[in-house]
Amino acid sequence: MTRNAGAPSALAVETSGVTVMIGDLPILREITFQVPRGQLLAIMGGNGSGKTTLVRTLLGLQPYQRGKVSLLGTELGRFRDWSRIGYVPQHGESAIRQATVAEVVASGRLAKRRPFMPASRDDRRAVARALERVDLTDRARSPFSELSGGQQQRALIARALTGDSDLMVLDEPLAGVDLGTQDSLANLIAELNLAGLTALVVLHELGPFAGLLNRAIVLREGRIIADGAPPPSMTTVTRPPID
C-alpha cells in the first residue's frame, strides 16, 4: 500500500468544537474527538442522533458553522488527497443502474486518475486487487444491480479500497443485509483494519462488530454522550435458564 511521502500525522481524524446547524436546528453540537491511525472505531446512536451528519461533515459534504476538522493531519478546507480516503455510503444512496461491478469499483480510482486519460495498468491492477480482496473477482462483469445486498456492499468496499486508502468511512454498512452477511462484512472490515487501515464505521447497533472494535463513540441529540471501549455486546440479552 503506497503512503503519502509527507510527514505522516499520527491522527487520522481530529475534530474540535464542531457545530453543524441546518436552518436554526443544531444537528451537531461541539463535537470534539481524535482518531489515532489504525483504530477500528464505531460511531453509534439512534435515528436522528447526528451520526450520518458527522461522517458527512468529516468528508467535506456537510458545511459546519463552528469548529475545526482535520483529516490525516491536514485541515479539511485544504485537504486534497482524496485518494487516501475511502467512503462507503449508505446502502441504496447511489443510483447505479447500468454499470458492471468492475466499472463501479473502478470509479473509486478516479481520485487518482487525470481527466481524458484512459485507465493505466496500475489502475486496472488496483481494481483487480480490490475485487479479489472482497472476493468478488468472479462477479466483476455482472451488472451491479443484480448483486445481492451483501455483495453490493462488498463491491462498494472494494471501490473504496482502490485508491490505496489510509482511512475508510463506512455509513451503516450492515443496514439491509441478512445476519450471515453482516458477520462476513464485519470480519472483512476487521481484517482490513488489521492490515493497517483506519476504519470509522457508523452503526445502529454493535451486532457482529461486538468484540472487533477498539472504540465506540455514542451520539445523542448531536452530542457525544459516551466515548471509549465498547462493551462486548450491547444487544445480547442474557436470559436465565428455564428448568
Partner: protein, 330 residues
C-alpha cells in the same frame, strides 16, 4: 438510390448521423441522473432562441445555441441551490421559452408554420454553413461525453460520493447540461426541438436493455441513435413527412424490440446465482428421465445456481447437477 446524390439529402443525412451520435451520448448521463425530461425542457427554451433569430433576422442555429445554453445554466444553478423544488421554476422557464419564441416569431410576421420546421425537423433546411456548425458542435459534445465518461458516470450516479473523490462535481454537472443544450439545438434541423428529447432517452433505454456495462451501453445507444436518425431521414424522404416523427417512432420501435431481444442476448451471459453458504447435502443419485435431448449448460435457459465446486440447474421445481451418467438432486 437517387437520394444519396441530392446535395440537400447528403446534408440532411450527415446532420442525422451527428444527431444520432450526440443525442444518446449525452442522454446516457441525463438518464442516469433521472432527468429524462431535461432535453424536452431545453427544447422549449431553444424555441425562444429561434424566435429571437427570426425577429432579428439572424441565423437561427447560433442564436438558439446561445439562448439554450443560458437557459441550461439557469436550470442547473436553480437545481444546485435547491431553488428548483417542486419543478415550478423549471416549468416557468420552459413554458416561458416556448411562449417567447412564438411571440417573437409572430412579431416578426411569421406564424407557427415557420416555427414548425424547427419543432419537428425538416430535410430542406440544413444549409451548408449549418452543417459545419453542427459538425463543430457535435465534436464539442462527443469529446467530453466519451473522454470523460468515467468522471461523468461517477457524478451522475452519486454526486456525494463523487465529491469525496475530489471531483469538481458542480463543474461536471454544468458541463452535462450545457452539452445537453448544445445537443438539443444541433438536432433541431433533424429531429426537431419538440422531439429531440426522445433521441436522447429512447436509444439509451434500448441499449440499457440489451447491453451490460456503462460504456458498452453508451456506445450501443449511439449506434442505435444513428440507425434511428438515418433510417428516419431516408423514410421521410420517401414518405414526404417531417423527419423527427419517423426518427422517434423508429427509436421507439427499436426499444420495443430490445426487450424480447434482451432476453435472448442476456440469457447467454446471465451470471450464475451463488449459494453463499451451501448446506452439506447428501449425494443422491436419482434416475431422472426428463432430459431427453437436453443438456444443462451456460445459456441453456434454466436458472444456474453456483453450489460449492459445481453448478446446479433449476427446472420443474427441483435443482440438480449432471454427475457422470446421472443427475445429483440437490
Amino acid at each position: 438510390m437517387e437520394l444519396f446524390t441530392l446535395p440537400f439529402m447528403q446534408r440532411a443525412l450527415l446532420a442525422a448521423v451527428l444527431a444520432g451520435l450526440i443525442g444518446p451520448a449525452i442522454g446516457t448521463y441525463i438518464v442516469q441522473r433521472r432527468m429524462s425530461l431535461l432535453g424536452d425542457g431545453l427544447g422549449h427554451v431553444a424555441i425562444a432562441g429561434v424566435g429571437l433569430a427570426i425577429a432579428t433576422g439572424t441565423a437561427p442555429l447560433p442564436v438558439a445555441v446561445l439562448v439554450c445554453i443560458v437557459g441550461a445554466i439557469a436550470v442547473e444553478l436553480l437545481r444546485q441551490t435547491g431553488k428548483a423544488s417542486g419543478d415550478v421554476g423549471l416549468a416557468i422557464l420552459f413554458y416561458g421559452g416556448l411562449a417567447a419564441g412564438v411571440l417573437l416569431a409572430g412579431l416578426a410576421g411569421q406564424g407557427a408554420g415557420t416555427l414548425s420546421q424547427y419543432l419537428f425537423g425538416s430535410l430542406l433546411t440544413v444549409a451548408e454553413i449549418d452543417l459545419w456548425v453542427i459538425l463543430g458542435l457535435a465534436i464539442v459534445v462527443l469529446v467530453p461525453t466519451i473522454g470523460l465518461s468515467p468522471q461523468l458516470f461517477a457524478v451522475s450516479s452519486d454526486e456525494r460520493y463523487a465529491r469525496t473523490l475530489g471531483l469538481p462535481v458542480r463543474a461536471y454537472n454544468l458541463l452535462i447540461v450545457v452539452l445537453a443544450a448544445i445537443t438539443v439545438t444541433v438536432s433541431m434541423r433533424t429531429v426537431g426541438l419538440l422531439l429531440v428529447s426522445a433521441l436522447m432517452v429512447v436509444p439509451v433505454a434500448a441499449a440499457n436493455n440489451l447491453l451490460i456495462g456503462f460504456r458498452p451501453a453508451l456506445f450501443g445507444a449511439m449506434g442505435l441513435g444513428v440507425v434511428a436518425a438515418v433510417s428516419g431521414v431516408i423514410g421521410s424522404y420517401y414518405g414526404n413527412t417531417a423527419p423527427g416523427s419517423l426518427i422517434v417512432l423508429i427509436a421507439i420501435g427499436l426499444f420495443a424490440l430490445s426487450t424480447p431481444l434482451a432476453r435472448i442476448v442476456r440469457r447467454r451471459v446471465t451470471p450464475e446465482f451463488e449459494v453463499i453458504d451451501p448446506e452439506p447435502l447428501p449425494h443422491q443419485t436419482e434416475d431422472h428421465t426428463g432430459h431427453t435431448g437436453h443438456v444443462h449448460g451456460p445459456g441453456c435457459g434454466h436458472l444456474a445456481v453456483r453450489h460449492g465446486d459445481h453448478t446446479d440447474y433449476v427446472h420443474d421445481g427441483h435443482r440438480h447437477a449432471p454427475h457422470g451418467d446421472h443427475y445429483d438432486e440437490h
